[in-house]
């Protein structure tokens, strides 16, 4: 993975957060910019993450004050901070929001990736988690919320408790990878921080996440099918969460030979499920060796309302700790800097639009758009002019990287005389 440690720091908070970072270090060897923060010395000692901050045990507010400076130093040189952990416990619930405020106050783009407790963990933890989440969503530019109960598809799981927690950690990891992957997309087909904010920056929203991995000639199709089967993409009683989305983040990662046609087939398939009012924002990492497996990540959210990305200090209440004491903030919270949230109308973006109109232009078919989404121009190669017709729902015929279900004359750009109606 090509990430620049000077730009992005992943902070694992509490036992769950540290576990996820450990899993990440195994999954992506050599990944830098990881920081483990916990008040559990055993957990920190066991962790393979290099940079660690130990929070003194006892009152979390007091503990945070002790590590405040150390944490501030760790953030130096970064432009994005992603906090990861489980909500519901005393440590995670308090520390996540305290660290988020601290990061935000230094002007960094702050995101979080958190797991909500299982219902069997009890009402107390649930309430604690909900309060902490509310705070996090208020502070952060984007929050991924993984509802652990949803992982079992809404019905009580028969899985062992240990397995349930493992699944929950794995899902947090996958969503964290999706988020970091999206942040590190570059070039003409990228997901901007503004896109992420639009999807994940809504207080009260629930995140829907799908991940699929496949190999072989039909890899994209299979990866999408697997991703679509994710229980986190299901809205109870309503079917696929994509149907309710106004914007979907799509990250494709795989071999160099991912073709335009393959990507297009996936986008049009998602578009079919998501409906006409949905925009698909896509990022592609096509730098793997030939023949490597292909990964597809989908992120979207339901519920909640979007607030403005740039916040002022007035809009954020000083942290109300779970403990009795208030946390002192060493610096006032600054609004998000302009360059941290690139506008779609920035010069770089414009160039990309011209180069790759299909990818970067709106995939929305109808005029109805969410107010928060900037209006976009229709490119000459817009996807909806591509039609697979009756083959829409069938497995694509991909030969030499081209989707051959799309009529030949369309792919060759041949002009036809339309029929004249009587």
């Amino acid at each position: 993975m090509n990430t620049n440690p000077s730009r992005r720091i992943l902070v694992g908070v509490g036992n769950a957060g540290v576990t996820v970072l450990d899993m990440l270090s195994v999954e992506v060897p050599g990944m830098t910019g990881l920081l483990a923060v916990n008040n559990d010395r055993d957990s920190l000692n066991a962790s393979i993450v290099r940079d660690k901050i130990e929070v003194p045990e006892g009152d979390p507010g007091e503990g945070f004050r002790v590590i405040d400076d150390e944490f501030g130093q760790a953030l130096e040189g970064a432009s994005v901070v992603i906090l990861c952990g489980g909500l519901g416990g005393e440590t995670g619930s308090f520390l996540l929001s305290a660290l988020a405020i601290r990061a935000k106050s230094t002007g960094l783009t702050t995101m979080a990736c958190v797991g909500m407790p299982f219902s069997f963990e009890g009402k107390h933890r649930r309430d604690l988690a909900e309060r902490a989440l509310e705070k996090l969503q208020e502070i952060c530019d984007a929050v991924i919320v993984i509802g652990n109960d949803q992982l079992s598809g809404g019905s009580p799981s028969t899985a062992a408790v240990g397995e349930a927690f493992l699944l929950s950690d794995r899902t947090l990891l996958a969503s964290l990878l999706a988020l970091t992957g999206m942040l590190s997309t570059s070039g003409p087909v990228k997901i901007t921080r503004a896109d992420i904010h639009n999807v994940l920056g809504k207080p009260g929203a629930l995140t829907h996440f799908g991940f699929g991995k496949a190999e072989g000639s039909n890899r994209l199709h299979e990866a999408l099918e697997r991703a679509m089967k994710s229980p986190l993409l299901v809205l109870p009683g309503k079917g696929s969460a994509l149907k309710e989305s106004s914007m979907i983040l799509l990250l494709l990662r795989g071999a160099k030979d991912i073709s335009f046609a393959e990507v297009q087939a996936v986008v049009s398939k998602i578009e079919q499920i998501a409906g006409e009012n949905c925009q698909i924002k896509m990022g592609v990492h096509a730098d793997g060796p030939l023949g490597s497996s292909f990964e597809l990540h989908l992120l979207t959210s339901s519920g909640g309302t979007l607030r403005k990305p740039a916040k002022t200090s007035e809009s954020i209440e000083p942290n109300e700790p779970i403990g009795s004491k208030r946390t002192a903030l060493s610096q006032p919270i600054k609004p998000l800097r302009e360059e941290e949230m690139p506008s779609r109308h920035g010069p770089l973006e414009k160039g990309a639009d011209e180069l790759f109109p299909v990818f970067t232009n709106s995939i929305s078919k109808s005029g109805k758009k969410s107010a928060a989404v900037p209006k976009q121009m229709q490119g000459t190669l817009a996807l909806d002019t591509y039609q697979r017709g009756r083959f829409d729902k069938s497995e694509p015929t991909i030969v030499e990287g081209e989707d051959l279900d799309v009529p030949t004359f369309l792919r060759k750009g041949i002009k036809l005389n339309p029929p004249s109606r009587k």
Binding site: E395, D405, T408, L416, S420, K422
Partner: protein, 407 residues
């Protein structure tokens, strides 16, 4: 057994399901007793996507065939196609412990050695078709059983495909309590009745254009050198017309059959085709050259893809092909031979089942080539096998029987 000389070929196509009931005559000829047929639903690009619907369609086709021929159908030979099928050539070798006469078991052993190659895990072997034997470095030994040697080698054309997809077809038929004699690559079945032995010896490319797939097979010196399945067919042409001229699929299909031509429309006079109003369709005028352009581009592309695939299979293979034989329902499209001639630059002939007798209107229709071919294949496999016919059996691709393969 009463029906020993009756063979039933079943093709579950994308457009239609055909059941051919044929009788083997004493002179090895096949005589067609009749055909049962239903339009196909639940099949896309040659593969079953809706098991329940397809099973119902197959049942109807079998009942139709039983009604028309008065034959009770117990076992069938089934054609299989789909883009999951892949092929390659491989040489097997067997070192004998001493120089001695080659035994029939040695031929089996060398075939097994040729199959000792890695195919994708979900795949299974469908055919292992003999190309040539070599004994002690003597190339192309006609009958190895009559020669002595210490090293037996053999070249095979090997066809494999995804197990679960092949099983889908089998499950569908078995659920109707009908036995399966064998599963045969569609193009291999068609070739049995479409190509003459002379053509196979001389070097021929057979292309079977169906509704959902185009299947092709190359014979050089009497043996199969390459086979392929392209998941493109007549349906794609219809879809292209429907998209390009903004017409419903049924209208597009009608235009393709009645008016369309695959020949390059550049320089042709063009004109207007008037589609009349009817209660469910607002009439319109269609530009003939637009229609023909859509068809030409697609057909030309299909042939180009086949040509490129064949060229990349075996070096110099294209130069050894002396003629192209086109069959299948798609071969009925006007101007198709002309396009093929431009792409392959060798003589092209439109063809259908030959050397069969019986119901003429059936075997004269190229869309039944595969189903009829199945019965011919069945005849070749089941006739008494002596050492003399063993070679023929192998070279026709009749190497291993289905039941042996399912282990």
């Amino acid at each position: 057994m009463i029906n020993e000389q009756i063979f039933v070929g079943l093709e579950i196509g994308t457009t239609k399901i055909s059941v051919i009931v044929a009788e083997a005559r004493a002179d090895d000829q096949i005589s067609i007793l009749g055909v049962g047929e239903t339009p196909s639903r639940g099949v896309r690009k040659g593969e079953i996507v809706d098991m329940e619907t397809v099973t119902e369609c197959v049942r109807e086709a079998i009942l139709d065939a039983e009604d028309k021929t008065n034959v009770e159908i117990g076992n069938v030979w089934v054609a299989i196609t789909g883009s999951h099928l892949a092929s390659f050539n491989n040489r097997g070798s067997l070192a004998l412990p001493e120089e001695r006469q080659i035994e029939p078991e040695d031929l089996d052993a060398v075939e097994i050695s040729a199959k000792e190659v890695a195919i994708p895990t979900p795949n299974t072997f469908l055919h292992t078709i003999l190309q040539a034997y070599h004994v002690d470095g003597n190339q192309n030994v006609i009958d190895p059983l009559k020669s002595e040697g210490a090293m037996l080698e053999a070249d095979f054309h090997i066809v494999h495909g995804i197990k679960t997809r092949i099983h889908n077809t089998l499950r569908c038929i078995e659920s109707l309590k009908i036995g399966i004699e064998d599963v045969v690559l569609s193009s291999l079945a068609s070739a049995q009745v479409v190509l003459s032995q002379d053509q196979k010896n001389y070097g021929a490319l057979m292309i079977d254009i169906g509704g959902g797939t185009t299947d092709y097979l190359v014979y050089i010196d009497g043996s199969i050198r390459h086979s392929g399945v392209l998941a493109l067919g007549g349906d794609h042409i219809t879809n292209d017309i429907s998209v390009g001229l903004r017409l419903p699929i049924a209208r597009a299909e009608f235009l393709k059959i009645q008016e369309g031509s695959a020949a390059d429309p550049v320089g042709s006079p063009g004109g207007i085709i008037s589609l009349k109003n009817d209660p469910r369709f607002l009439g319109c005028d269609v530009d003939r050259s637009s229609l023909d352009t859509i068809i030409h581009l697609r057909v030309n592309e299909i042939f180009e893809l086949i040509r490129r695939d064949i060229e990349s299979s075996v070096e110099g293979i294209m130069d050894l092909i002396r003629g192209v034989m086109i069959t299948g329902g798609g071969s009925k499209l006007k101007g198709i031979a002309q396009v093929a001639e431009e792409v392959f630059e060798i003589p092209v002939e439109l063809t259908r089942a030959r050397n069969v007798s019986g119901a003429t209107q059936i075997f004269e229709d190229p869309q039944y080539s595969t189903a009829i071919g199945l019965t011919k294949y069945a005849r070749l496999v089941t006739k008494n096998i002596g050492p003399e016919s063993m070679l023929e059996r192998f070279t026709q691709g009749l190497g291993s029987l289905f039941k042996k393969r399912l282990r």
